[in-house]
């Protein structure tokens, strides 16, 4: 990890994590157009969370992108993954443009990119129906530290950090914690 020093990422303290999955719900709704109650009541389709609560040995923690050297950027054939140096070095996929080719997910050394079935707009659904080949459209999703919610003053508003009832989740650029996160998810 040579060029990732000081890039921001989400770290979850396993000593504080209660495995309640609140961060997953917060992540899913923060990346949708709905709050939880509206999504549930209106039965809106919402993408799965970009983070995942895991149990390893006898502790639980949350895993997601650790903002590493980011081989995903190079892997993208249509060049829609960028690192935003103005914003803590966040690596973000342009999900509108993503064609769902899975290259980034394969390139990711820590399995932090989820390939999920795309939620189609009503127009896209009609278009898909007229196509002969019924192939499911995919999207690549990864943690973007809630890029769209970064305040005008540059303040980060990552939904999982706010949602955690035990303050186990923090935003940090500490490389020791980055290594620990990778170690916890058994990649090191």
């Amino acid at each position: 990890m040579s060029n990732n020093a000081n890039t921001l990422f989400i770290y979850t303290d396993p000593d504080r994590c209660m495995s309640c999955h609140s961060c997953e719900i917060a992540c899913a709704t923060a990346h949708s157009d709905f709050d939880l109650q509206s999504a549930v009541i209106l039965k809106e389709k919402v993408y799965p969370s970009r983070n995942t609560v895991i149990k390893v040995d006898n502790f639980t923690t949350v895993v997601q992108c650790v903002s590493c050297d980011a081989p995903c950027i190079e892997s993208c054939p249509i060049d829609v993954i960028d690192r935003h140096y103005d914003f803590g070095g966040i690596v973000k996929i342009d999900e509108e443009e993503c064609i769902g080719c899975k290259a980034c997910a394969k390139a990711c050394p820590y399995d932090s990119i989820k390939m999920v079935e795309a939620i189609l707009s009503p127009e896209e659904i009609i278009k898909a129906k007229t196509k002969k080949k019924k192939k499911k459209k995919l999207k690549a999703l990864k943690c973007d530290l809630c890029f769209d919610d970064i305040g005008e003053d540059g303040e980060y508003n990552s939904a999982c950090v706010a949602a955690c009832p035990t303050q186990a989740i923090i935003l940090t650029s500490d490389n020791a914690l980055r290594s620990k996160a990778i170690q916890m998810s058994k990649y090191l």
């Binding site: 309640c20 999955h21 609140s22 997953e24 719900i25 917060a26 899913a28 709704t29 939880l36 109650q37 999504a39 549930v40 009541i41 039965k43 389709k45 919402v46 993408y47 799965p48 969370s49 706010a162 949602a163 009832p165």
Partner: protein, 634 residues
């Protein structure tokens, strides 16, 4: 606009300010510390019933869809809801049981502190329970009423006497046809709980149906609580009093009575008047000042005009005045936090029921047989505490709000009788039919930190009155609407629509009030909701329809407790549209959500309206009322 407000009661706001200054934690601090609240809990997607769990189904549909046992979200939500209902009903049960048992002890001469205060009510109740009263003395009738009531808890043969007394004939028939008429109280609660055991019932529709049966058992039980209380302590009649935290007196020993059951507070009031001189001797020039909190407050307010200091959410703030010597509590809706708040002052928290002890409080065991001794001890503890009052910490808000109380069913009927002695209810139904009164809305329920304290009640009541809808209130709605100044004649003149104002003025003038009745009729504590049911029943019988056709609705815009949940449910089951202003934790199941908000309408005539915005809620309630008017052809 409301973002920075916690309460719309200025006396509360000044105490919130004082609490902040003195670094005393309040319910709002704890609410903030609890944010964000768990989404699985909020939507009802969490099951903790067995120890394979906890299980949670992903309400967004991406994660697990069933629990480890295979229970789907509909089963999980319905089971959890039914459990809450059973707890709410159990709370009402214990309330009614204490009172019924005390009535029995009175009839046996074992409870000196109590007596049959309202013989007329006793006979009325006996008749409604189909008991023969001819040639029987008061105590004999009391014994039979108490025995029949107590039998209802575990009745194996015959019909549930109180359910028979409460429901209209049409509703009874309907519930029987649906197979949802409960046989007794205890068995119905146990039946509901047993269905929710792991591996028992997994048909969400049948779980909800048993909730409806439970709701009927509950409304009957609540009626028992209210009516037997009236027998022992008197049926309320209109009385003028005051409300909000300014009712505390600087030069008095202030005792706040808090909880729900009138058994305790009535006797404490008696003891206070006997020991008043002792309080004066201890230096309190004005003697003992009793004030009420929550529904104990409502019980005292409706029967004796005792000032109501505040409702549920602000109970701890009352002590922040530094002028409360004792807060005496019995059961239900008592925040454990009051002990911590009291520790900053000289206030003694006194718990009284052996089955409802409060950790950290002084316990004075209270039993009907020895009620007076316990009450005396409580007063003495308060007098003792007065010596430790720190005057530098005392700050009592100014400006107590006038409020009228005591509109029991009987009081309303006697008021209506002033305009038509032969057929009192026709005064109400005629005015509903001619549109002078568009409908009736009963406000009930609690307070909830998810809502600005009292704001929904006050906002909605004003808007509804403007639309010529008669507003009545019970429970913590009373605290809100009394402190908000809406239980006054002035409120009628200022906010009521023209035709409603006309009717209330005709009634008020006839009652010798030289002006209208108050805009909101105060019908008592939360258990007293059945007073309203009786008015509905009379109106329905008069119009020859069942309650589900009447332009009457319930609103619980700030509810939280399990008791309020089951009250709202029986509102729906007896046929009334019932608004809740807090989103219930059921939304993860569209089956349950749809049943409560739509499906129930086909089965019972009533349904839940879920709407957090008070103005939107008024529109939705009014729409329900108007569609019922159209259906009635009025």
């Amino acid at each position: 606009m409301l973002e920075n407000y916690k309460s719309v009661d200025p006396t509360v706001s000044s105490m919130i300010f004082k609490a902040e200054k003195e670094n005393i934690e309040t319910v709002w601090d704890r609410h903030d510390a609890m944010q964000p609240q768990c989404g699985f809990g909020e939507t009802g997607a969490c099951c903790r019933i067995c120890w394979k769990g906890p299980c949670r189904v992903d309400p967004l549909g991406n994660g697990p869809k069933v629990g480890i046992c295979g229970a789907n979200i509909d089963v999980i939500v319905a089971r959890n809801l039914l459990r809450s209902f059973a707890v709410g009903t159990s709370a009402h049960t214990e309330h009614a049981r204490h009172i019924a048992h005390t009535l029995l002890e009175v009839s046996q001469g074992k409870a000196d502190a109590y007596k049959v205060k309202d013989k007329k009510k006793l006979i009325d109740v006996a008749k409604r329970l189909n008991l023969n009263v001819e040639n029987k003395d008061t105590l004999q009738i009391a014994k039979e009423v108490a025995t029949t009531s107590l039998e209802d808890f575990g009745r194996l043969d015959g019909e549930y006497a109180w359910a028979n007394a409460v429901l209209t004939e049409k509703r009874k028939e309907k519930m029987k046809n649906l197979g949802l008429m409960p046989k007794n109280l205890g068995g119905t609660v146990v039946d509901c709980l047993s269905r929710t055991h792991v591996g028992s019932e997994s048909d969400p529709a049948n779980l909800l149906a048993s909730g409806a049966r439970l709701a009927i058992a509950d409304v009957a039980m609540m009626a028992m609580g209210t009516e037997l209380s009236d027998i022992l302590f008197g049926t309320p009649t209109p009385v003028m009093t005051t409300s909000n935290m300014a009712v505390l007196k600087k030069d008095a020993i202030n005792i706040a009575l808090h909880g729900h059951n009138p058994l305790l507070c009535e006797v404490v009031c008696d003891a206070a008047s006997l020991l008043n001189q002792k309080a004066k001797d201890a230096g309190a020039k004005e003697g003992i000042n009793i004030v009420g909190v929550c529904c104990t407050g409502n019980e005292l307010m409706e029967r004796h005009g005792v000032p109501l200091a505040t409702n549920y959410l602000t109970q701890e703030l009352l002590m922040v005045t530094g002028a409360v010597e004792a807060m005496v509590v019995d059961t239900q809706c008592i925040m454990p936090a009051i002990v911590e708040t009291a520790s900053h002052y000289h206030t003694r928290i006194i718990s009284t029921l052996d089955e409802n002890k409060i950790g950290g409080a002084t316990h004075v065991s209270f039993h009907p047989q020895t009620a007076m001794q316990s009450a005396n001890k409580i007063i003495e503890l308060a007098i003792e505490a007065y010596a430790n009052r720190d005057d530098s910490k005392v700050e009592i808000p100014n400006g107590a709000q006038k409020a009228m109380s005591g509109f029991s069913y009987e009081a309303i009927i006697s008021t209506l009788a002033l305009l038509n002695a032969d057929d009192p209810i026709s005064v109400l139904t005629d005015n509903i039919a001619n549109g002078n009164i568009q409908g009736i809305v009963l406000f009930g329920g609690c307070n909830n930190t998810k809502v600005v304290h009292n704001y929904n009640y006050i906002t909605m009541a004003k808007e509804l009155a403007k639309k010529n809808i008669l507003v009545v209130a019970t429970g913590c709605a009373v605290g809100a609407l009394a402190t908000g100044g809406l239980m006054t004649q002035e409120a009628t003149l200022e906010y009521a629509g023209d035709t409603l104002k006309e009717v209330l003025t005709a009634l008020g003038d006839a009652a010798g009030l030289k002006g209208p009745l108050p805009m909101v009729l105060n019908m008592g504590s939360c258990v007293d909701n059945t007073r309203v049911v009786r008015v509905c029943e009379d109106a329905a019988n008069k119009l020859g329809v069942d309650i589900d056709k009447l332009p009457i609705a319930i609103s619980a815009p700030e509810l939280m407790s399990e008791k309020a949940q089951i009250i709202g449910t029986w509102g729906v089951v007896i046929g009334l549209p019932t608004h809740v202003g807090v989103i219930p934790p059921v939304t993860a199941s569209s089956f349950v959500t749809n049943f409560l908000t739509e499906g129930a309408k086909d089965l019972f005539g009533g349904h839940f309206i879920v709407e957090p915005d008070p103005l939107e809620a008024v529109e939705k309630i009014n729409a329900s009322i108007q569609s019922r008017r159209i259906a009635l052809g009025i």
